[in-house]
């Protein structure tokens, strides 16, 4: 898609005989395949399910409120029921007693659905290698994005959300029921951020001292 915006007070009325008409068309008409547009829409209106388990949920809530404002990414419509949501953020520790409940809630999300695993506990059990904790939500759910941290900062969650959006934008799905092959073009496997950003991080030579604010 190729489109642009200009400030309302600077927009001129189109004149005959120059390329303004071209511009007008570009501003108002979008030439796009339906598949692409649906992928674009999906990417920018991810509705999360209102689901939280522990500490991470507080940072998830912080991402929703004023300072970080997840609405900038079209993801502020928190749904109270899984049936209306596109995405579940596993924010917190997954407990053995809670696991069947999480499973049921995930099953109730309608396709297409995505999972963000937020925080060390949901990623791998984290510091809780203990009898009552499942060692990572991926033991029973397919995870799309892992956000590291204990708890991750709200910015980290937003980055995770953007990574998910990027990959959803690349996915293509059939527009109606198809028999046999579903024809879903999945995203390609991504490298973890550690690999992508590693060289840049290692290249850092000056680290801020903790002695100063």
């Amino acid at each position: 898609m190729n489109w642009s915006l200009e400030a309302a007070d600077q927009a001129k009325a189109p004149q005959r005989g120059n390329d303004d008409l071209d511009k007008l068309v570009r501003q108002n008409v979008m030439m796009v395949t339906l598949e692409d547009m649906i992928a674009w829409g999906r990417k920018n209106s991810l509705w999360p399910f209102n689901f939280g388990l522990s500490c991470c949920y507080v940072e998830m809530a912080t991402a929703i409120t004023s300072r970080h404002d997840v609405a900038r990414f079209g993801s502020e419509v928190i749904r109270g029921t899984p049936r209306q949501a596109d995405m579940i953020i596993i924010a917190g520790t997954v407990f053995r007693k809670m696991a069947p409940v999480v499973k049921q809630l995930y099953d109730q999300l309608l396709e297409p659905k995505w999972v963000i695993s937020m925080g060390s506990c949901a990623n791998s059990g984290g510091m809780y290698d203990i009898y009552s904790v499942v060692q990572g939500v991926d033991k029973f759910l397919p995870v799309d994005v892992y956000v590291s941290g204990c708890p991750p900062r709200p910015e980290a969650l937003l980055q995770g959300l953007m990574l998910l959006q990027e990959s959803i934008g690349k996915q293509r799905r059939p527009l109606s029921w198809v028999i046999n092959e579903q024809g879903i073009i999945q995203r390609e496997e991504n490298d973890v951020q550690r690999v992508i950003r590693g060289p840049e991080r290692i290249a850092a030579t000056e680290l801020r001292s903790p002695d100063e604010v």
């Binding site: 209102n50 689901f51 939280g52 388990l53 522990s54 500490c55 949920y57 507080v58 940072e59 809530a61 912080t62 409120t65 004023s66 300072r67 109270g80 520790t93 407990f95 053995r96 007693k97 809670m98 696991a99 069947p100 409940v101 499973k103 049921q104 809630l105 059990g125 510091m127 809780y128 290698d129 203990i130 009898y131 009552s132 904790v133 499942v134 060692q135 033991k139 029973f140 204990c150 708890p151 900062r153 903790p210 002695d211 100063e212 604010v213």
Partner: protein, 598 residues
């Protein structure tokens, strides 16, 4: 907000009520008293056999000692003694049940213990004396497999109903990776879900009355208004709440078992995550308890730094409560304003500790680092910025007519009921009792600060909120005094058990180097003893009961949390109200599930 002058109990007075009680028990039940145990926290500890424990507890509950009563069963727990080495002069026991009683009128504590043997793990219930014993006994049954005869419904409380074994027994595996790998197929999901199903008959509930059929409503364990993984099953007659059964354990992270595995030092980050809104304030009772056993005196600067950061977290926690409370009764906007302050405070915390929610920044014998240069600038800005905002919230939330009508007169209880259910903190002060650990039993130098203890009169949802709002102002006062009078000096004690040890002491000779190496790699060895340390946490009395067996880890870590007691009270204060009132009541309690299930 009425604040009366503080009727300070002296330490002498505090001991006297306990000593009078001990003397009286000795004169009445002298022949049945098994042992008087000495502990470093100087709480009198008496051993009774299970045949006479009820008699002893009844006396303590009903009689008056030097004008004081033991109103509250603060804690009830157990110890698996089978692997313990240092048990000098204690009666033989495989499992010990521990009762921790607290007197508010006499400002005193008393600990009673009952020895039990492996072959016959049962003791009579105390539910008739203190209603809050119900959950504590269920928890002990769940974790240790000790039966309480006469208990109305001795089911598992914390672990899933399908669990095998008792987790806090020494033979139970601690690590998930020691156990069979977790898998969840559809069949197993069904089994687990079936086990979690609420069956009214098990709770003595009828499905219908003479003229109507009851409806059972399941709220949670994932519901927007229950603040975490908490479930409550409600019995309704039309819209009126007949009864309720709270169900917990969806947030059990095994913190107490973890305490037996981590070294004294490496357990500190786990305490942060107990009341996960309280941040470093959770470190405080733990490190103070260890310091007491180790005999460490911390420098003044450490005390003030600890107080300052703890009070900042108190404000943070109260702000979150304030916002969600308003949200739960229908005001969506306040929380968006309140998170602005939270972010400001987190900025300060981050600039000092390097992390936002769980800095884990206190150390045994000090704090992790000294305050950075220019640490006070942002705090002074906050002290300027926040008071007018709090006034604005008063007009936005506290004076709002709808909020008042939804919360005033809802979920009220008296001081006596609060004692019966083990309610502490703002929930207790809202009933009109001026009791704050920071005033009554000052720790970490709170005796040097000027602040008032806000109280209210009606003990309803509105008052609980009002008390917390005022507490934020008092916390700001304390923080101001910290900033203005921050003592100079060390951020770490010079005691040899301070962890991590002081670097400058290590480079002297091979001996000091070895000591340093051991203290850092294995952690400090704390001398065998028992200690209990309580603080006024964000939600009430948070208490750590630690037992050292003279090793690098704790033998038993008991964490008494306020929210656990508070949740148990919900049915008692919400009967006769409507479902929407129940939401207001739940919101007004201010709990965190990690603080309930640990």
């Amino acid at each position: 907000m009425p604040t009366s002058t503080n009727t300070a109990f002296t330490k002498q007075n505090r001991q006297s009520a306990a000593h009078v009680a001990v003397d009286y028990l000795q004169s009445v039940l002298g022949d049945r008293l098994l042992c008087k145990q000495q502990t470093v926290d100087s709480i009198p500890t008496l051993w009774f056999s299970r045949e006479s424990i009820i008699q002893a507890l009844t006396i303590l509950r009903n009689e008056s000692f030097a004008g004081a009563r033991f109103e509250m069963l603060l804690d009830l727990t157990a110890i698996d003694e089978r692997a313990r080495i240092n048990r000098q002069e204690q009666p033989e026991s495989d499992f010990t049940v521990v009762y921790h009683l607290m007197s508010f009128s006499g400002n005193a504590d008393l600990r009673l213990k009952v020895p039990l043997h492996d072959s016959d793990l049962r003791t009579p219930t105390t539910c008739d004396l203190w209603p809050n014993a119900n959950w504590y006994e269920r928890e002990v049954w769940d974790m240790f497999g000790i039966r309480f005869d006469g208990h109305p419904n001795l089911y598992r409380l914390v672990l899933p109903p399908t669990w095998k074994g008792h987790a806090l027994r020494k033979e139970h595996p601690a690590r998930a990776t020691e156990m069979e790998p977790f898998a969840l197929n559809d069949e197993q999901t069904d089994v687990e879900q079936e086990a979690l199903k609420f069956k009214p008959e098990e709770w003595g509930m009828k499905r219908a009355s003479d003229d109507s059929e009851f409806m059972f409503l399941n709220l949670g364990p994932n519901h927007p208004s229950v603040h975490g993984a908490f479930r409550i099953a409600v019995q309704l007659d039309g819209e009126i709440l007949v009864d309720a059964v709270p169900d917990i354990g969806y947030h059990h992270r095994g913190a107490e078992k973890m305490g037996e595995r981590q070294s004294w030092h490496t357990f500190i980050p786990y305490t942060d995550r107990i009341d996960y809104l309280g941040g470093v304030m959770n470190n405080l009772p733990y490190v103070m308890a260890v310091e007491k056993m180790a005999g460490i005196e911390v420098p003044e600067r450490v005390k003030v730094i600890r107080v300052m950061l703890s009070e900042m977290f108190r404000i943070c926690s109260h702000l979150l409560f304030y916002g969600t409370f308003a949200q739960d009764v229908g005001q969506l906007s306040p929380i968006f304003y309140m998170f602005v302050e939270r972010e400001r405070i987190f900025n300060i915390i981050e600039s000092i500790c390097g992390a936002r929610m769980h800095p884990g920044w206190f150390r045994i014998g000090g704090v992790a680092q000294d305050l950075p240069k220019g640490w006070d600038t942002r705090i002074r800005e906050l002290l300027e910025f926040m008071p007018p905002r709090l006034d604005e919230y008063d007009s936005m939330v506290m004076n709002n007519g709808i909020l008042k009508r939804r919360t005033q007169g809802v979920g009220a209880y008296t001081t006596q009921e609060a004692f019966d259910w083990g309610v502490t903190g703002a929930g207790l002060r809202a009933t009109g009792l001026e009791w704050d650990m920071r005033k009554q039993r000052p720790y970490s130098g709170y005796e040097n600060f000027e602040f008032d203890v806000p109280i209210a009169a009606n003990g309803d949802c509105y008052d609980r909120c009002a008390v917390r709002v005022e507490e934020m102002r008092q916390s700001l006062r304390i923080i101001k005094q910290c900033v203005d009078n921050m003592p100079s000096g060390d951020y770490k004690s010079s005691h040899p058990l301070t962890t991590p040890p002081r670097k400058e002491n290590t480079m002297q000779d091979i001996e000091t180097l070895i000591n340093h190496f051991l203290n850092v790699s294995w952690g400090p060895v704390i001398p065998p003893n028992e200690v209990s340390m309580s603080i006024e946490a964000t939600k009430g009395i948070n208490s750590y009961y630690l037992i050292s067996d003279g090793s690098t880890t704790s033998y038993r870590t008991r964490i008494r949390t306020p929210s656990f007691a508070h949740l148990q009270m919900i049915p008692a204060i919400s009967r006769g109200f409507m479902v929407s009132d129940l939401i207001a009541i739940i919101a007004s309690i201010d709990f965190v599930m990690a603080d309930v299930d640990r």
